[in-house]
């Protein structure tokens, strides 16, 4: 009886989806997450070290792929952190985008449009502000540890050629606190503040499909390749 139950249970679980996402991206996914989709969150700090990010993602995939039919990655190319990822027992789905900015803006083309319009843009979202890993949060740490003069000097170098600070409004949360933070920050560092309308289009497609040309769908046993992100090149 118990063996039969276990077998029945596992066949039910196998049809389900799992999201593995960065701490910043999950903020935009959670309000839209269907109740039958599970999720795991990986540390935002991994984005600074693509090989560590790749290892953390592979470990998370390996730990879960026997229980799910599809694993959706809440990442983009992300400094190639997703290249080489594979799953033997399930399908991997990853949006065909450079990084999370395109996910917040709703498409790769929207990201490119913004990049062309003002390449020197520092983007913020609720998730980015809350994880506190930006030159602005680092400024506060530097002031505390080495004084304001040093912090000013290094932050000027870090933000060299940046002209705009853009808060992406995806409409998923009350914006007042984050708007206030972003406006104050822009003023403090001499950047032009802008609020950019985000979109939930890509997040909804990630969670519910269809996984069209904007996605890389990797069958069990195959790996995500760099060229998958540039199918027309």
């Amino acid at each position: 009886m118990s063996a039969h139950c276990a077998k029945y249970k596992s066949s039910i679980i196998k049809t389900r989806k799992l999201v593995i996402a960065c701490a910043t991206v999950i903020e935009e996914m959670l309000p839209l997450m269907p109740s039958d989709v599970e999720h795991r969150i990986l540390d935002f700090g991994l984005h600074t070290n693509p090989s560590k990010l790749r290892q953390a993602l592979q470990d998370a995939i390996d730990a879960s792929c026997s229980q799910f039919e599809t694993i959706i990655l809440g990442y983009g190319l992300c400094s190639q952190g997703v290249i080489g990822l594979h799953a033997t027992g399930c399908t991997l789905v990853v949006p065909r985008v450079d990084d999370c900015i395109a996910i917040f803006l709703g498409s790769s083309s929207a990201h490119r449009h913004q990049s062309r319009f003002e390449p020197g843009t520092y983007y913020l979202t609720k998730g980015w502000i809350e994880v506190g890993d930006s030159p602005f949060s680092e400024y506060e740490r530097m002031v505390a540890s080495r004084g304001q003069k040093h912090a000013d000097r290094i932050t000027r170098l870090m933000l060299n050629n940046y002209r705009r600070l853009a808060l992406i409004n995806t409409g998923q949360y009350a914006l007042e606190y984050y708007r206030d933070y972003a406006q104050r920050t822009a003023k403090q560092f001499g950047l032009k503040y802008e609020e950019i309308e985000g979109s939930t289009t890509l997040v909804k497609k990630m969670l519910n499909g269809p996984w069209d040309d904007g996605f890389i769908v990797v069958k069990p046993g195959y790996s995500i390749r760099f060229e998958d992100f540039y199918p027309n090149s």
């Binding site: 990201h111 390449p119 050629n161 940046y162």
Partner: protein
């Protein structure tokens, strides 16, 4: 050659981001007649240590920026001594720029200084440089090597577009000017995607490749 202990101390203090010590030590070593190339090699070693500490999350991004700034200052201080040693013709001509869509220039600026320290003449086109601008400069004043710099992912396609444009205007029968792409997130796969000849993730690696290329050009 500098005393082993003082060279070790220079490496340790740069990896600890002790700017005052490093700059004073470099001035003293140069005054004592030490080879500026040895000093730069030691700083390069220290920069690798800083990178390792960043990867271990012992350092934040600001430490990488600070280390880069100290390295830049060391090269500024060392440049006159380097020029004395390398008096005569330039080692080669390099056209350098951060590609369209990217505004990051810390790595490019360090590369530019390092190349000048090693006797190269560098024409730097700045940031967010359109492919057409690279082409115009190549046609007006052909360099020995073209360096395309970029940090963000959007730069990969710009590098590809620039490389294709430059290759498309190559004169028949004339050897193509070598293209090096540089940036901390680059890889062999990106180099293949771009169609460049070489890729580097740090400035000194770039200098060595440029030296190698120019030696081959000048070989009878």
């Amino acid at each position: 050659m500098a005393d082993k202990r003082s060279r070790k101390a220079l490496i340790a203090h740069l990896s600890d981001l002790d700017e005052t010590y490093v700059l004073n030590a470099v001035r003293q070593l140069l005054d004592e007649g030490q080879d500026p190339l040895d000093i730069i090699e030691d700083c390069e070693h220290a920069m690798r240590l800083v990178g390792e500490r960043y990867e271990k999350r012992e350092y934040y991004l600001s430490a990488l920026i600070m280390a880069g700034e100290i390295f830049r200052e060391v090269m500024m201080i060392s440049q006159p001594s380097m020029e004395q040693r390398l008096s005569g013709n330039a080692s080669g001509k390099i056209l350098l720029g951060t590609v369209q869509g990217d505004i990051h220039d810390i790595g490019k600026d360090i590369a530019q200084l390092a190349l000048r320290c090693y006797g190269f003449a560098v024409e730097d086109l700045g940031i967010d440089v359109p492919p057409q601008k690279f082409l115009e400069h190549v046609q007006n004043n052909p360099p020995d090597i073209i360096g395309l710099s970029g940090l963000v992912t959007v730069a990969y396609e710009s590098m590809q577009e620039t490389t294709r444009l430059l290759r498309g205007h190559n004169k028949p029968g004339q050897a193509a000017i070598p293209i090096i792409i540089g940036g901390s997130t680059l890889s062999e796969e990106i180099c293949r995607f771009v169609g460049a000849d070489f890729w580097v993730t740090d400035a000194m690696e770039g200098v060595r490749i440029c030296q190698h290329i120019v030696q081959n050009i000048n070989r009878p």
